[in-house]
């Protein structure tokens, strides 16, 4: 444009003025999206190039066995944890799969009255799993692990006579209120739920044909084998299973937040991923299941591989590992090393997150961890964590070519090994991943773009109503969608899917799944492909895949 004459610029300006406003806004938006895509694709290309050259980032494509492997959820918040874990400990590999880990169950925790489904909303669980006290545990039903309502939370303060009695003693509420407002982290330490937990076990194995509410109690060994294979095969992890494999679900905990489920695991329909991880680990450790896997599916799990289930709290960076009392002696040392690495990684994760918080900027080390813990415990904090805000890209492929790439907590990462292709692995994976990730992206997109109609507006006037939703103030429409405090950090762009496969395979997948085809061809999402062997990038534009021209793209971006 610097070469244009004045007359040409005036012509351009007049032409621009003549274009209807909607088109102009659309072009600006396309440019906004393109700006990010060029940036991210350039980074990916640079990273790929550095891998070829053998320079730069640490790469674990060598054949030595890893110390431990961690399987996380595909959530974009786990991207930074995985990155930091790999940076802290070069002998740890990370993978990702949908956070329910294939275990579609209705889960009834200790002390809970009902079982809640922990699987994607489109899946109907057909199994029920209960958590019970381990043999030799206390006789009570673990009510101590459930927070008992205390002063200020009981319904009795609403009535007249009982309310009067409660109100006369109401000055006692000054203590928890002062602690809760002035020192939230300190108050959380004295909270009853943070005490030592009882030893529990999952009743995972189906022992009879008994059914409860139409759900079978537990899984049979065949079903367990199916689930284990369904998760491990597409990731390409089976040939290189380490001694210790950690399955890490995730959840989030916040106070005074009616929309807390939005921060939990989307693959578990807004629930916690911890029980699923624990169930999977128990399944994969069962000798009968391993025998079935070998005989019927040809999947060989080494005898010395042990699976551990755990949960990562994305709000306060707490990582809890389950069933450690079942861990064999031989694995204590690798576990200790993994735990130390996880500890370091979560502190770095907290540091990275603190950069995005106005009151947390500049905090390092333990101070950063304490800051995010305080945010999670704080009643008065409308932004305990950012959730999926800023999510922009979904990478489906091997970790080998994204390891070391800093995607700034903006990427959903899905582990997929193109060389493990048998049948329709890619189809099944994308049939799950594309709807889930694009739905999350649209949730944030529309709540940002129109907070009044699609989003829930500011949290401040929200009033819980009907025990099922929130409205503004005294009376208003139900406010659905995400609150402004949750989306204001978001950049509204359509999600970019970056899949490691060939254009031919992708077109075949789209032909076989019309839903994916519709979403891609109608430009609800952007799609780019990384060729598994040639390492070229193809972008889906105007109904076909175009090879990305690196040099031109670089010139345009700079």
């Amino acid at each position: 444009m610097a070469a244009f004459t004045v007359a040409q610029i005036v012509d351009l300006w007049d032409a621009w003025d003549g274009i209807p406003e909607v088109s102009r806004l659309q072009w600006f938006h396309l440019a906004y999206e393109r700006h990010y895509q060029e940036q991210v694709l350039n980074e990916v290309e640079d990273h790929l190039a550095s891998l070829e050259g053998g320079s730069g980032t640490v790469n674990r494509t060598d054949r030595s066995r890893a110390l431990a492997q961690v399987v996380c959820c595909i959530d974009d918040r786990e991207e930074s944890l995985r990155r930091h874990l790999e940076a802290v400990d070069a002998d740890v590999e990370t993978y990702a799969a949908a956070g329910f880990f294939g275990v579609a169950m209705a889960y009834q925790g200790l002390g809970q009255r009902e079982a809640f489904p922990l699987c994607p909303p489109v899946v109907t669980p057909r199994h029920k799993v209960r958590e019970g006290l381990a043999a030799g545990g206390r006789g009570s039903r673990g009510l101590a692990s459930v927070r008992v309502p205390s002063l200020g939370r009981a319904k009795s303060s609403h009535t007249l006579v009982r309310g009067a009695l409660v109100a006369l003693a109401g000055a006692a509420a000054l203590a928890p209120m002062s602690a809760g407002v002035l020192a939230p982290r300190w108050r959380a330490r004295w909270s009853p739920t943070r005490g030592p937990r009882e030893v529990t076990r999952l009743a995972l194995l189906r022992t009879s044909d008994e059914q409860e509410d139409g759900l079978a109690l537990g899984f049979s060994h065949e079903e367990m084998a199916d689930i284990v294979r369904g998760l491990l095969a597409p990731m390409g992890i089976v040939p290189r299973l380490a001694k210790l494999v950690l399955i890490l679900g995730h959840s989030s905990h916040s106070e005074n937040n009616p929309q807390a489920a939005a921060y939990n695991c989307g693959a578990c329909a807004g629930g916690h991923g911890g029980p699923n991880a624990r169930a999977f680990a128990q399944m994969a450790n069962a000798p009968e299941v391993r025998v079935l896997l070998l005989e019927q599916h040809g999947v060989r799990i080494p005898d010395d591989t042990w699976f551990v289930g755990g949960n990562h709290d994305t709000a306060d960076e707490e990582i809890v590992l389950s069933d450690l009392d079942l861990l064999p002696e031989t694995h204590r040392e690798p576990l200790a090393r993994l735990v130390a690495s996880l500890d370091q990684a979560r502190i770095r994760d907290a540091e990275e997150r603190c950069r995005t918080f106005a009151t947390g900027v500049g905090k390092k080390g333990i101070a950063a961890l304490r800051h995010v813990q305080a945010r999670a415990e704080d009643l008065a904090q409308p932004r305990p964590e950012l959730g999926h805000a800023r999510s922009a890209v979904c990478v489906v492929g091997r970790r080998s070519w994204t390891r070391g790439l800093d995607l700034d907590r903006r990427a959903f990462l899905v582990s997929y090994d193109p060389s493990a292709e048998e049948g329709d692995l890619l189809l099944r994976l994308l049939s799950a991943v594309i709807p889930v990730c694009s739905d999350i992206s649209f949730d944030y997109y529309f709540s940002f773009v129109d907070p009044q109609r699609y989003g829930a507006g500011s949290k401040l006037p929200h009033n819980l109503t009907g025990m099922l939703g929130v409205m503004d103030g005294h009376a208003s429409d139900l406010r659905t969608g995400l609150p402004w405090q949750a989306v204001e950090a978001h950049e509204p762009m359509r999600l970019l899917f970056l899949v490691e496969t060939t254009p031919a395979a992708m077109m075949a997948t789209m032909d076989r799944n019309p839903a994916i085809a519709q979403v891609v061809q109608n430009e609800w999402v952007h799609l780019a492909l990384v060729h598994p062997t040639e390492r070229t990038i193809h972008v889906f534009r105007h109904g076909r895949f175009e090879r990305r021209a690196p040099a031109l793209a670089r010139a345009v971006a700079s």
Partner: protein, 459 residues
């Protein structure tokens, strides 16, 4: 006038938040951005100092305070030949308790809001209004003459209404803020009339001077009349029947402001006024009967209507009203200590509940698990005792809040249409006599011009 430490501390309690208000207002008026941290530190710092000052006041005047109260004269604030209006601080036990309750709760809400309102437009405005409210409540708590109490009373009403209308870009908060303000002002007619007649009766509005005079036999009509006027004023602030309609609608403001005003302090300003005027009420049995009656019927209203509410803030609003009406009954019966304990406990509890209102869903779920209940109870014990038709009728009546809103609308609309009819007659008469009014012609012209500007395309 000698400056005793008590006087200095006492004035400081009020002056520090007032000075912070002025400073913050000046900061807000300056161009450029203010850091949120500055605003919060200024407001919270001033309130902490005010709390310290109130503790110091109480400590320095412990002896006289616990034995009947201490009156601290500060000079005349308005005088004409033959009469002067004195500004006085009254420090007694109820006042000291209320003062410290006020500052502690406002400090907690202010710290809470500093985080909760982060990045919200109107951040500084919230703290300005909170400081104004603090000054008003402290004036009510420590005021030694009806004039100062009235000044505080008005400030509390103004800041309440402005905080209800905090989200002033939406229609509902503004409408409900106006409604609350209208009720306050209507009832403040009672306060003002009461003050004037009080002056007439005892020739002073200073409590320490006035109350000894009331023990003398006086015309029961005068004393009861004045007491009833103050009762009307207190009814408006405390949302007693028939003025209850504004309170659930007042939950339009941000959660912390709802907590501090309608859980904690503003709603207790009414009972506190009655507590202050206890000697007057002792001489006015009719007023006391009205207090007890109003309290009783409002308690019935609030506890039944509260059960039919479907959202948590309305439920808590009615629970508040129920307890405040019990406090009224206690005051009417002369149980002052009980009433004070009730005020302190209820204010603290309700603030805590309102601050935690968004957690209600999760707490309810947990309660279900522990208590093994599955369904949410409807209308209370009446459900099991009354037949279906009666229960349904009861539910309908309580859901419609005893049809008070319809009643109010009918009354107000009748009055408004009567006034409009009078206005119409007036215009017709003046047109007949003077020709078309200039005002109307120029107003029409201005409107036409305005429309043209709009049509030219303001994009």
């Amino acid at each position: 006038m000698n400056f005793t430490p008590t006087m200095v501390f006492g004035v400081a309690v009020l002056a520090i938040p007032a000075a912070a208000f002025v400073l913050l207002a000046a900061l807000t008026a300056l161009p450029g951005r203010r850091e949120e941290r500055t605003v919060v530190r200024l407001a919270t710092g001033a309130l902490w100092l005010s709390l310290l000052a109130s503790v110091a006041t109480v400590v320095s005047a412990w002896e006289p305070l616990t034995h009947g109260g201490l009156s601290v004269p500060l000079g005349a604030w308005f005088s004409v030949p033959g009469y002067s209006l004195q500004s006085v601080l009254l420090l007694d036990l109820p006042g000291a308790v209320f003062m410290m309750l006020t500052t502690s709760l406002i400090i907690l809400v202010s710290v809470y809001s500093g985080r909760y309102l982060h990045r919200e437009p109107g951040f500084a405005r919230f703290f300005l209004l909170l400081l104004l409210f603090a000054v008003g409540m402290l004036a009510i708590a420590a005021g030694g003459s009806l004039d100062i109490v009235f000044g505080g009373w008005e400030l509390v009403g103004l800041s309440s209404a402005l905080l209800i209308a905090f989200f002033h870009r939406r229609e509902a908060p503004v409408r409900h803020g106006l409604r609350a303000f209208a009720v306050y002002r209507a009832c403040d007619v009672g306060f003002l009339a009461g003050v004037v007649l009080f002056h007439e009766l005892v020739h002073t509005s200073v409590f320490a001077e006035a109350f000894p005079q009331l023990s003398v036999e006086r015309s029961p009509l005068a004393v009861n009349g004045i007491a009833l006027l103050f009762v009307v004023a207190a009814m408006g602030k405390s949302a007693m029947l028939p003025f209850t309609g504004w309170l659930p609608r007042a939950m339009e403001g941000p959660t912390p402001s709802s907590a501090i005003f309608y859980g904690a302090l503003s709603i207790h300003a009414g009972p506190f006024l009655l507590l202050r005027l206890a000697p007057l009420l002792e001489a006015a049995p009719v007023a006391r009967a009205v207090i007890v009656g109003t309290g009783a019927i409002t308690a019935l209203h609030a506890t039944t209507v509260g059960r039919a509410q479907t959202d948590i803030k309305s439920k808590l609003a009615y629970a508040s009203v129920a307890q405040v009406s019990l406090i009224w009954v206690e005051l009417g019966l002369g149980l002052h200590t009980l009433a004070l304990v009730h005020i302190v406990g209820h204010a603290t509890l309700r603030t805590w509940e309102l601050l935690r209102a968004p957690s209600y869903l999760r707490d309810w779920r947990l309660r279900q698990e522990v208590q093994r209940q599955h369904t949410y109870a409807g209308v209370g014990p009446a459900r099991s005792r009354f037949p279906l038709a009666v229960r349904d009728a009861l539910y309908r009546v309580t859901l419609e809040r005893w049809y008070l809103d319809e009643l109010a609308t009918a009354v107000v609309s009748r009055v408004a249409s009567a006034l409009r009819a009078l206005d119409h007659l007036d215009r017709k008469a003046s047109t007949l006599l003077d020709g078309p009014s200039i005002d109307r012609a120029s107003a029409e012209q201005a409107r036409v011009v305005g429309d043209e500007e709009v049509n030219r395309g303001v994009s």
